[in-house]
């Protein structure tokens, strides 16, 4: 079982809707969490970085981390067609290799 699980989708929503993207993880030692957006044939683009539990907001994006349930969420308000992409969650600081462990990504489609 992969340490970070993410529903691959696709997730299709109408423009203007609130999008909820979620991941679960199994390694209780993970300390920091990130969300990335990846367009086709591009590199991952960092959207949100959260250390430990709590919420973080940046414009239309809100990241939530609940370490008690090992649950990570990203909310996108007022979704736009340009938000259509693959969203990757990642966790780190769990000991061992000092890199990120990624979910496989959720493909999001915003319908105009």
């Amino acid at each position: 079982q992969k340490e970070v699980e993410q529903d691959p989708g696709p997730l299709s929503v109408p423009e203007g809707a609130i999008v909820s993207l979620n991941c679960t993880y199994s390694n209780s030692a993970f300390q920091y969490f990130m969300w990335y957006r990846q367009y086709s044939r591009k590199g991952p683009e960092l959207l949100m970085y959260t250390y430990s539990s709590g919420n973080k907001e940046d414009g239309r994006f809100t990241a939530q981390v609940d370490k008690s349930s090992k649950y990570i969420s990203l909310f996108i308000r007022d979704s736009q067609p340009s938000d259509s992409a693959t969203y990757l969650c990642a966790a780190g600081g769990g000991g061992g290799a000092d890199g990120l462990t990624f979910g496989k990504g959720t493909h999001l489609i915003i319908q105009p």
Binding site: P44, L88, A90, D98, G99, K104
Partner: protein
């Protein structure tokens, strides 16, 4: 331009050949990473480096070699390329506000 650059962006090579992928960052970040991205597996860590001359293995290091003589450069070498190494390779560096990725190198081994 500031950030991370990778070269080449596309590479086709033959089985058994040695290939080096280059990575350069302008932020002076201590930590640098190499990942590969494959359908069905997502992004997986190959090697990472905590500083110049300090490197360590990640999840899938077999068949790869890294070096880091300067803080800003972190090349990845495939010593004898195999078809299973056909993938998209991403370099990243970590700062105080997160880990940042380069544009990737798309490698095909024939």
């Amino acid at each position: 331009d500031a950030g991370i650059t990778q070269s080449p962006r596309y590479k086709i090579t033959e089985t058994g050949r040695q290939v080096t992928l280059m990575c350069h960052q302008t932020w002076s970040h201590s930590y640098m990473f190499w990942y590969r991205q494959d359908l069905g597996h997502g992004l997986r860590l190959i090697y990472y480096s905590a500083a110049a001359d300090i490197t360590d293995k990640g999840e899938v290091p077999d068949g790869y070699v890294v070096s880091r003589s300067k803080t800003e450069n972190f090349p990845l070498t495939l010593e004898s390329a195999t078809r299973s190494q056909t993938s998209v390779y991403f370099c990243a560096s970590r700062g105080l506000t997160g880990q940042y990725f380069g544009p990737g190198t798309r490698l095909t081994v024939t």
